[in-house]
C-alpha cells in the first residue's frame, strides 16, 4: 500500500556555496520535500546510524542521499561504501554530486553501488537544470523503497 508522506533528502556537502546553489535550484521547483544537510562524511554516518549528536533522536530515514565525494575527514567514497554495505541502508538511492569528472571516480562510484553520478558544472543554468532533473526523477517519477509501508 502506498501512502503519501513528506520525503527526506539528505544532502552531504561541505561547501556552503555549493549547498546554497543546490538549495536555490531545488527551491525553483514545486516539489515538496524535507532537506537535511550534513557537512561531512562522519556527520552523515552519525545521522544515518542515529549516533553521536543524533543519539536518541527520531530523525527520518532519508529517501534519497545527494552525496559529494570530496569531504573533509571521512569522505563521500567511504560514506557510499558504508551505506551500500549496510542492509538497512543499501536500498536508499545515493546520487553522487561531485566536481570530479575523473573516470576513476565515476567508475568506482558505480562499482560501489551509486545510483547516479552528476558532475557539478561551472554553469549555473546547467547546474539548475541538472538539479531539477534529479528532483523531478527521484521525487516525482521514481517509486522508492521508503514509500512502501
Amino acid at each position: 500500500m502506498m501512502i503519501k508522506h513528506t520525503r527526506l533528502l539528505l544532502i552531504v556537502e561541505d561547501s556552503d556555496e555549493d549547498f546554497e546553489a543546490t538549495l536555490r535550484a531545488l527551491k525553483k521547483s514545486s516539489i515538496d520535500c524535507e532537506i537535511y544537510r550534513c557537512v561531512d562524511g562522519e556527520d552523515a554516518l552519525d545521522f544515518l546510524y542515529r549516533r553521536g549528536k543524533y543519539f536518541g533522536e527520531h530523525n527520518k530515514r532519508p529517501s534519497v542521499i545527494l552525496l559529494d565525494l570530496n569531504l573533509p575527514g571521512t569522505d563521500g567514497r567511504d560514506v557510499l561504501k558504508e551505506v551500500k554495505r549496510q542492509a538497512s541502508l543499501k536500498s536508499i538511492p545515493v546520487i553522487i554530486l561531485s566536481t570530479s569528472s575523473n573516470p576513476i571516480d565515476i567508475e568506482t562510484s558505480y562499482q560501489n553501488g551509486a545510483n547516479s553520478y552528476m558532475v557539478k558544472p561551472v554553469n549555473y543554468p546547467a547546474f539548475t537544470e541538472a538539479i531539477k532533473s534529479f528532483e523531478d526523477f527521484w521525487f516525482r517519477v521514481a517509486v522508492l523503497s521508503n514509500d512502501i509501508l
Binding site: S15, D18, R24, T99, S100, S101, N102, N123, Y124
Partner: protein, 753 residues
C-alpha cells in the same frame, strides 16, 4: 721431380704446396760439381763417391771405390779426418786442410766430416780459395761486424746493417733479410742491392716458395751455398749404399745438389748463384739472409764461416731486438688505452668522449671503429657502413657469447662480411650489453691491400711430355697481388687485452649510469604521482571556488538584475563567461595530463569503423557547418587504442570544420601507402602559414581570436600529438595558406598483440 696426376681439374689450385713438400731433397743422390763427396766406412775405405773425382783430382771415381782414404791423401791428414770423425772434442773445429797430389801438383782443399742420420760417415772436400787480405782475417771480420751490430739502435738499423755487411764481404749483387710470418709467408724487410737492379724490398712471398722440408734443413744447416745454378749436378756412385741399400742422406752436406724446382725458380729470377743464412729464433726458422748473384759465385769457406757467425749473432739479437721493436709498439698501445680509460673515468657521456679521440684506433691498431650503443651507431675511421655494422651487431647477438671477440678472417664466419672485406676483414668486438645489442667494434682492413706479392704465388702448372701435370715455379717476378683474400693482420694478445680493459671501463660507466637511472626513475615516479595529485587538485580544489564565483555572480544577476543598470549586468555576464572559460581551460589541462599518463588499450582496430563512429558523433555539427566529407577508400586496420585514435580524428576533423571560410567546404580523410601507413585529414579551409607549423601544437596556443572560428581552448592538436606520440608515431602539417591544410600522422606502434 715428383709427378702428380690430376683427374679433376678443380683440384688443381690445391696442388702446388704438397707437391713441393713431398720432393725428397735430402736424398737426391747428387752433389754440386765444385766439390767432392765421400761416404766412408769406419775403416775409412770409400763406399760411395761423387762422380767428379776425375775433374777435381784426376782419379776416376770408380777406381777409388773400395780404396782407403790414404790412397789419395797423406797419412797425417787421414789421421786428422779420423780424429774429427771419432773424437767429439774436434766436432766443431772446421775445416780440415787437405792437400791432394794431382798430377804432381799440390791441390789444397777444405775438408768437412760428419755423420749422417743413417750413421754413415761423410767427408766433403771443396777447393781451398785464398781470402784476399783486403777483407781481413776471420777474427778481424767478425770483430768489426759484431761491434757494429751491437751499436745499432733500432731493429730496422740492425737489419740494414747485416745486409750491407754480408754484401760487403761476399760480393753478392743482392742481400736481403727475409722474414716469415705466422703463416709462413715471407717479406723482404731489408735489402742491399746493386743500383742497376730492381729492388725486392717490401715484397711478399708465399709460404709455398720454401717447402716444409727445405725449412727443416735451414734450421739444421745455418748456411747454404748454391755456387752455380747452371752447373750439372754430379751423381753419387753407386746410387745406393752397398751396405744399407739406401741413397745417401745428405741432410748435413754443404755440397748437396739443389732441387730442380728451386733451380728453375732461381733461374726465373735471373740468379746465377745464391747463398742463404738461416735466422733462427727459439729453434724456429725466423727468416733468412738471402743472397743472390747474377753470375755463378763461389764463396770461400772462411767467408761463409764469417757469414754463418754473423747469422748466429743476428739470431741472438733477434730475441731482444724484436721484442723491443714490439715493445715500443706495445707502449704506444698501452698509452692510447690508458688515455681512453682516463677519459672514460671522467663524468659525462662516454660515447662522445670516445668519438673525440684517435686513441680508440691506436689502442688496438685498427683502421676503423664502431660504437653501437643504445641502438645508435657511431663510426670512426675506415669501417663498413652503418647498415652493415647493424648486421654485424645482429650476428654478434646471435653467434657470440664472449666478452671479447676477435677474428682476422671475419667473412669465414659470416659470409656477408666479404662485401666489406676491404675495411672489415679483421673484427675485434667487445660486448657491452648483448641484450641491448651494445658493442664496441674495431676493424682491420684486408691485408691484400698492403701486400705486394712477388710474382704469382699460385705457381703455374705445366704439362710434361708424359701428359702428367707438373708444377713449375713462376716465370715472372713482377709485382703480383696474391689472392689471399679476406684476412687482416692478426690481433695481438695485448691489443685484445687493451680492448678488454676498455670494456671493463665502459661496463663500469654503464653500471654507474644504471644506478643513476634507477634513482632518476624513482624521482620520476615520485613526480608523476605528484602530477596526478596536482591534476586532481586542479580538477577539484580549484574548480570549487571557481564554481562559487560563478554561482554567486549568477545569483546576483538573478536576484538584482532589476536594480542593476545595463553596464552592471554586462560586467556580471562577463564575469560568468570568464569563469566558464577558466573551467574549460582547467578541463583541457586535466584531459591532456590524463592522455599522457593513462595506459593505452591496444587492440587490432579498424580505423574505418573508428572514423565512422567519430563522424556519427559530429554529424549534426558537420551538417550545420555544411561540410562535405570525402573518404576515397576504406581505411585499413591497425593496432592502436581505438578510443584515443577516435579522439585524434575527432580533433582533426573539428579543426578542419572550424577553420574554413569557403562557400563549399569539404574534408577528406585517407591514407598513403607508406610504411608505416600515413593517414591524413585534408581540408579546403583557411590554411596555416609555415612559420606556425610547430606552434599550433603548443597547448592553449591559438592563431586566432578566442571567439573567432567558434572558439575552443586550443588543446585539440596538443592532445592529438600526445596520443600519436604515445603510439610511437608522428604528426605533421602541410598547408597552402588560404587554400587548405593537411594533417598527416602515422602510428609506428611496435606493440605486439
Amino acid at each position: 721431380m715428383t709427378k702428380i696426376t690430376v683427374s679433376d681439374p678443380l683440384l688443381l689450385p690445391g696442388v702446388d704446396l704438397t707437391n713441393c713438400d713431398r720432393e725428397p731433397i735430402r736424398i737426391l743422390g747428387k752433389v754440386q760439381p765444385h766439390g767432392l763427396l765421400f761416404v766412408l766406412e769406419p775403416d775409412l775405405t770409400i763406399s760411395q763417391i761423387s762422380a767428379n773425382a776425375a775433374a777435381l783430382i784426376s782419379r776416376t771415381s770408380e777406381s777409388l771405390l773400395g780404396s782407403g782414404l790414404d790412397t789419395i791423401m797423406p797419412s797425417e791428414q787421414v789421421a786428422e779426418v779420423r780424429k774429427h770423425l771419432f773424437n767429439e772434442q774436434n766436432k766443431y773445429i772446421r775445416p780440415i786442410p787437405i792437400t791432394i797430389d794431382v798430377e804432381n801438383q799440390q791441390k789444397h782443399f777444405n775438408g768437412v766430416v760428419h755423420g749422417n742420420p743413417d750413421g754413415l760417415l761423410i767427408l766433403e772436400l771443396e777447393p781451398f780459395v785464398h781470402v784476399p787480405h783486403a777483407l781481413g782475417n776471420f777474427y778481424g771480420l767478425v770483430q768489426v761486424a759484431s761491434a757494429t751490430l751491437q751499436e745499432t739502435q733500432s731493429f730496422d738499423d740492425l737489419c740494414q746493417l747485416i745486409v750491407h755487411e754480408v754484401k760487403r764481404i761476399t760480393h753478392f749483387d743482392r742481400v736481403m733479410v727475409y722474414q716469415f710470418d705466422e703463416d709462413g709467408h715471407g717479406t723482404v724487410i731489408a735489402e742491399a742491392v746493386e743500383q742497376s737492379m730492381e729492388p725486392f724490398w717490401g715484397l711478399h712471398y708465399p709460404a709455398s716458395d720454401i717447402p716444409q722440408q727445405a725449412r727443416q734443413l735451414y734450421v739444421l744447416n745455418w748456411l747454404r751455398l748454391i755456387a752455380d745454378v747452371n752447373a750439372q749436378p754430379i751423381d753419387i756412385v753407386p746410387s745406393l749404399h752397398p751396405r744399407i741399400g739406401k741413397p745417401v742422406d745428405q741432410t748435413y752436406c754443404f755440397l748437396r745438389s739443389v732441387s730442380p724446382v728451386h733451380i728453375e725458380y732461381l733461374k726465373n729470377m735471373g740468379v746465377g748463384g745464391s747463398m742463404s743464412i738461416s735466422l733462427v729464433r727459439e729453434g724456429q726458422l725466423w727468416g733468412l739472409i738471402a743472397c743472390h748473384h747474377r753470375e755463378p759465385i763461389f764463396v770461400p769457406y772462411e767467408v761463409r764461416t764469417v757469414c754463418e757467425f754473423l747469422g748466429q749473432l743476428f739470431s741472438i739479437q733477434l730475441g731482444t731486438r724484436e721484442e723491443s721493436h714490439d715493445f715500443q709498439y706495445q707502449v704506444k698501445v698501452k698509452s692510447a688505452q690508458f688515455h681512453c680509460i682516463e677519459m672514460l673515468a671522467t663524468e659525462g657521456d662516454y660515447v662522445s668522449r670516445l668519438l673525440a679521440t684517435e686513441d680508440i684506433l691506436t689502442m688496438t691498431g685498427a683502421q676503423g671503429a664502431a660504437l653501437c650503443i643504445d641502438h645508435t651507431i657511431h663510426l670512426i675511421g675506415q669501417t663498413p657502413n652503418e647498415k652493415q655494422v647493424r648486421s654485424i651487431v645482429e650476428w654478434l647477438v646471435t653467434n657470440n657469447s664472449q666478452d671479447v671477440f676477435a677474428t682476422h678472417n671475419f667473412s669465414k664466419l659470416f659470409s656477408s662480411a666479404s662485401a666489406y672485406k676491404g675495411v672489415g676483414s679483421g673484427l675485434l668486438a667487445i660486448t657491452i650489453s648483448k641484450g641491448q645489442g651494445s658493442y664496441v667494434m674495431w676493424f682491420r682492413r684486408e691485408i691484400i691491400q698492403e701486400v705486394n706479392w712477388a710474382g704469382n704465388p699460385n705457381k703455374p702448372i705445366e704439362i710434361d711430355d708424359n701428359g702428367d701435370l707438373r708444377l713449375m715455379p713462376r716465370k715472372s717476378f713482377e709485382k703480383w697481388q696474391q689472392q689471399v683474400e679476406n684476412t687482416s693482420l692478426r690481433w695481438k694478445p695485448y691489443e685484445l687485452e687493451a680492448a678488454e680493459q676498455v670494456r671493463n671501463a665502459i661496463i663500469g660507466i654503464v653500471l654507474r649510469n644504471i644506478e643513476r637511472l634507477a634513482s632518476v626513475n624513482a624521482d620520476l615516479a615520485q613526480s608523476n604521482s605528484e602530477l596526478d595529485a596536482f591534476a586532481y587538485i586542479a580538477s577539484h580544489d580549484l574548480k570549487e571556488p571557481l564554481r562559487g564565483i560563478h554561482n554567486y555572480a549568477s545569483f546576483l544577476l538573478e536576484d538584482y538584475e532589476s536594480i542593476l543598470n545595463e553596464d552592471g549586468v554586462s560586467k556580471l555576464n562577463t564575469l560568468v563567461r570568464l569563469t566558464q572559460r577558466m573551467e574549460d581551460l582547467i578541463n583541457s589541462l586535466l584531459h591532456f595530463s590524463r592522455v599522457g599518463r593513462v595506459e593505452l588499450a591496444f587492440s587490432e582496430t579498424s580505423l574505418q569503423n573508428v572514423l565512422t563512429e567519430t563522424l556519427a558523433l559530429l554529424e549534426l555539427s558537420l551538417q550545420d557547418a555544411g561540410v562535405q566529407i570525402r573518404i576515397p577508400r576504406t581505411l585499413p586496420s591497425i593496432v592502436c587504442d581505438q578510443v584515443r585514435i577516435g579522439e585524434v580524428f575527432n580533433n582533426l576533423i573539428v579543426n578542419a570544420m572550424k577553420y574554413n571560410d569557403k562557400q563549399d567546404k569539404w574534408i577528406e580523410i585517407g591514407y598513403l601507402d607508406e610504411t608505416p601507413t600515413v593517414f591524413y585529414v585534408t581540408d579546403n579551409g583557411i590554411g596555416i602559414l609555415e612559420k606556425h607549423y610547430e606552434t599550433i601544437f603548443r597547448i592553449f596556443k591559438r592563431l586566432h581570436g578566442r571567439d573567432e572560428y567558434s572558439g575552443g581552448t586550443g588543446s585539440g592538436l596538443t592532445i592529438a600529438r600526445k596520443i600519436i606520440e604515445r603510439h610511437g608515431g608522428h604528426i605533421w602539417v602541410r598547408s597552402i595558406y588560404g587554400q587548405g591544410t593537411t594533417f598527416y600522422f602515422n602510428l609506428e606502434s611496435k606493440i605486439e598483440l
